[in-house]
Amino acid sequence: MASARRGSLKRYYDVNGWLFVTPALILIAIFLFYPILRSLSLSVYSGRGMMMKFAGFGNIVRLWNDPVFWTALGNTVTFFVIQVPIMIMMALILAAVLNNPQLKLKGLFRTAIFLPCVSSLVAYSILFKSMFAVDGIVNRILETVGIIDAPINWLTDPFWAKVLIIIAITWRWTGYNMIFYLAALQNIDKSVYEAARIDGVPSWRRFLHLTIPMLKPVILFTTITSTIGTLQLFDEVYNLTEGKGGPANATLTLSLYIYNLTFRFMPNFGYAATVSYVIVLMVAILSFLQFYAARERK
């Protein structure tokens, strides 16, 4: 009797549970699972537009011999290898300073530093494009202050275009990462800091030996999400550096290359899908590393 009732109650929960999650699961199946599998099946085809022929590993061979692909891959890796550590370090330092309980105007500073990640990627890219013009405000200020002698060609020099992209992403996302660190810091027992302070441990050592170790899980999380974000970089390079990928492909990213292959050049869905799986592979490897590191911690 009792077990039968429990059985029907359990079924009641089951049915309702399924009803609540089903709409989302159907949509995820259609708009996430199906496309990701379709991408995989597309990658063994090649051809123009809808006229596709089976190509087997042909796309992978083409990928291997495609200098533009390697440039895009190299740029993408350069962006996250240089940008992510700079941004994470800056976000950490800002969060540590903002966490100081004696600090005044905390809310104002926090809001100001967080503000960039409210802006649209397109709008800020356009703003940066006008600010970093050859005669623009940034070169002007740098010259006035005496940091540079001659204006920098931010938009047309292959090296400086890369630097500009890095500056832009750093501006947009540092505050975002900082908020995660602030949240984590506020969950930390303050007495540890107080004790260290009373013992006369200088603030930079408190940062190095208390803050960073305690935030390790959050740092790992933000590093991975930032890296995945950089792997998908599109809006900024498209809007900052001429749509095609900047001077001499210097700012071409994998996402932009896929877009070009699909919608700008003679459309080749199969080859574009193959390039897209390079990103899938990189994200998968990075995520695996994250899980591995997380398990290590336990």
Binding site: N16, L25, L32, L115, S119, S120, E242, S255, S276
Partner: protein, 274 residues
């Protein structure tokens, strides 16, 4: 003793200087946007940092080039409809995953989380082909649909649901409420601030969405503000005076939403870390 106090004072000055510089650099592009909207293109690209007299001219020129009411309406429609549907479907799913003890629940949830890692670049070609086959190119439905079941928001609501008191749910059940009534009459009002934070996040994602609309919306009368501003700015010699009006219109709604809901938003972000 005195050395320690001087040290502390130096450290305080350094901290304020650091925050001041960071805050200034963060805010400067917004100031630049405001100032530039009042200047001519020639003044903007030579870095004029003073308020000019061209605001009305720029404003008029932008409205002459762009059907502003239509474009803003397109953006508002995509954003508000998309945000409402995402919050509904994803919060229902988040609640479902937390409250029910269905078999396979954890395995299915793990798969949903896995989709968080799928980059959009790998989806866009098949999605585009799907939409073309369904004759949905140039429609706003095509923009909204793929974003409705948003794995991150499902995850966010499931995390937040852990804080929903189960006594409330049990009491409601004793009173004879059905599951969907419990959800809409009790869960939603109790989780107000969770919804507010999710609203800010999804609103910004939708309003600022660029790559997918760029692919799907090809006719001028369906385009959103980000697309229009981007195409105006991609000319070889962009008319920055005009473009600045566009960047302001593209940025203002998310700024307003952020400032209106800042407190709930920061709390929501803080909650998501726990």
């Amino acid at each position: 003793m005195r050395a320690a106090r001087t040290n502390r004072r130096i450290s305080a000055v350094l901290q304020y200087a650091l925050l001041g510089i960071a805050a200034f650099l963060s805010v400067f592009p917004f100031i630049w946007m405001g100032i530039s909207a009042t200047n001519s293109t020639a003044d903007i690209i030579t870095g004029k940092l003073a308020i000019g007299s061209q605001f009305m001219a720029n404003f008029a020129s932008f409205f002459a080039k762009v059907d502003v009411p239509l474009i803003m309406w397109n953006s508002a429609k995509v954003t508000l409809l998309g945000t409402a549907l995402t919050l509904l479907v994803s919060s229902v799913a988040g609640y479902g995953f937390e409250m029910f003890r269905s078999k396979f629940r954890d395995r299915i949830y793990a798969v949903v989380l896995l989709t968080l890692m799928v980059p959009f670049a790998a989806l866009m070609i098949p999605l585009f082909m799907m939409m073309a086959k369904a004759h949905l190119i140039n429609t706003h439905i095509a923009i909204i649909l793929p974003m409705v079941a948003y794995p991150f928001i499902i995850f966010y609501f499931r995390q937040a649901s852990k804080a929903f008191p189960s006594e409330l749910r049990d009491a409601a059940k004793v009173d004879g409420l059905k599951e969907w009534q419990i959800f809409f009459y009790i869960y939603v009002p109790v989780m107000r601030s969770t919804y507010a934070a999710a609203f800010v996040i999804v609103f910004m994602l939708n309003w600022n969405n660029y790559l997918w609309p760029l692919i799907v919306l090809q006719s001028n009368d369906t385009k959103t503000i980000t697309l229009v501003v981007s195409s105006l700015a991609s000319a070889y010699y962009p008319d920055y005076g005009t473009v600045m009006i566009g960047t302001i219109l593209a940025t203002l709604p998310t700024l307003l939403v952020f400032f209106a809901m800042q407190r709930q938003f920061v709390q929501g972000m803080l909650g998501s870390v726990k």
